[in-house]
């Protein structure tokens, strides 16, 4: 019994996403596929203790799920149930076939399809490829589980009923479509950055999941430098996690972090990915952001920050992939380089409506104003920054930042 349970759990952990992707690619129905796969796992726990764990557990689960799906389609008496049957039959994979296909890449592109609302793309990926439930996902995005569940139901229904193309994008469409997929994975990583201090890190944090998806994309798209760029970026950021808070739980800014607390393994992995990506010689937003992080990672080795390199990289980003976030970061880099006037010049070009609720803008503005001697305006800007900050440790840091 214990062997059966362990075998089932291993299969679930290692293969859930891949098995689901095969069912979804053929049925186009995520919810029905999830149900069918769940039932297959239940059946496994019921029969494997008696019949023994099969030689190929994945193939066994696949066959069971496929049968459930086919029967469910029959009961619905939908005109295109026969189409699903044909799709499932034509694969003809028998339990003896050792290697099941992997349709996770198609699934990821479907989750990030232009017809799917941006806000639900990341949750869809997390639920389908990683098997996370609405509670876990909702908690990371600060959305009530019932609401998140509802949105997921709606999105899956849209995918099932709308006939989105289930193929990988054409070469022409690939850069933009891949960008959407990468943005959705990065959004998962971003949920860990705002983790409120004191909250149970296990409950809300999706950094591990984001890194898994990042590594999966690199393995499935080895020729795409931007996938490597994103992975490198996330690894650089994650490498500094232990240094972001001191022993008392206080916020530690990048410039003051103890680099001995940075994860050397992650930095080495990041450097490897960035190097591999750069061989393509094509600009990519994520590669550029990773390169910026790479400059910061050099500080403990060289003893200084290469401001000129940062200025060049931010200049590239501002030109090729501009956004409020990029411009604010560019301004912050100018400030760090001892050029508050330039920083203010960049900040002034931003549209007020875009940055009204964007905390980093107000922090950078406050620090730049203070550096140019306008203390009253700096204090006012910092007040705004603090009201936009959720994390108490960061609030405390900002409250004293102008005096530091």
């Amino acid at each position: 019994m214990r062997d059966a349970r362990r075998a089932a759990e291993t299969a679930a952990r290692a293969s859930y996403g891949r098995l689901l992707s095969i069912l979804v690619a053929r049925s186009r129905d995520i919810a029905a596929s999830e149900d069918a796969l769940s039932e297959a796992f239940v059946a496994a726990l019921r029969t494997w203790p008696e019949t023994g764990v099969p030689d190929n557990p994945d193939a066994w689960l696949m066959t069971a799920a496929r049968n459930t799906l086919r029967n469910a389609a029959r009961h619905r008496s939908v005109v295109d149930a026969s189409a699903i049957e044909l799709a499932l039959l034509h694969d003809g994979f028998a339990p003896e076939v050792p290697d099941l296909p992997d349709d996770r890449l198609k699934l990821l592109f479907v989750c990030a399809h232009p017809a799917i609302d941006e806000a639900i793309r990341t949750p869809l990926m997390l639920q389908t490829v990683l098997g996370l439930d609405a509670v876990q996902i909702g908690s990371a995005f600060l959305v009530a589980p019932a609401t998140m569940g509802q949105r997921l139901v709606r999105a899956k229904a849209k995918i099932r009923d709308t006939g989105l193309r289930f193929e990988l994008p054409s070469a022409e469409d690939m850069p933009e479509r891949l960008g959407d997929v990468l943005n959705a994975v990065y959004a998962a990583y971003g949920t860990s950055w705002d983790t409120v201090a004191g909250a149970d890190p296990g409950a809300g944090d999706l950094a591990g999941e984001a890194l898994f998806l990042g590594r999966l994309l690199v393995s499935l798209l080895p020729a795409e430098p931007e996938a490597r760029g994103l992975l490198a970026l996330m690894l650089y950021c994650e490498s500094r996690r232990a240094a972001r808070r001191d022993a008392e739980g206080r916020f530690v800014p990048l410039a003051r972090q103890d680099a001995r607390l940075w994860s050397r393994d992650m930095i080495i992995e990041a450097e490897g990915q960035l190097t591999a990506a750069s061989r393509s010689g094509v600009f990519g937003r994520y590669q550029c952001e990773a390169a910026i992080q790479s400059v910061h990672a050099q500080r403990p080795i060289t003893g200084r920050t290469e401001h000129a390199a940062l200025a060049t990289l931010y200049g590239l980003l501002a030109e090729r992939a501009p956004s409020a976030g990029v411009l604010v970061a560019q301004a912050a880099a100018r400030l760090d380089a001892g050029e508050p006037g330039q920083a203010l010049g960049i900040l002034r070009r931003l549209v007020a409506a875009e940055v009204a609720g964007y905390q980093p803008y107000w922090v950078t503005l406050a620090m730049s104003l203070a550096a140019t001697g306008d203390r009253p305006a700096a204090t006012e800007a910092m007040q705004t920054a603090i009201t936009l900050t959720r994390d108490p440790a960061v609030r405390e840091f900002l409250a004293g930042a102008l005096d530091a």
Partner: protein, 122 residues
Amino acid sequence: MQYMLIFTETESEFAKRNDPAQAGAYWGGWSAYIAALAQAGIIVNGDGLQPPHTATTVRVRDGKRLVQDGPFADAKEQLAGYFVIEVPDLDTALDWAARAPAASSASVEVRPVMPPMAPPAA
């Protein structure tokens, strides 16, 4: 799969239909688009609609028939016409929707047509 492309237009676009200075370009744009759809062999059916001022809205509430002068929604973008096309997937339908003149001035909604109801089981 069949998709309906539901075109909306703004007031100024509708006005072009009968404006001698702009009518040529307006109708030329639509003719070219429809010709392309026909060329691709994907048209199931379609029609242009008379402008919103010709619309009447009917509701029945508590057995009472309510008739209102004008379209059902008071919006800047109003229904202007539709085409039902037969294409392999949504992506293809979206590509066609984007090429419609209405997409540049207002918007095009793309919605799958319901499949024919299955006959009752014998």
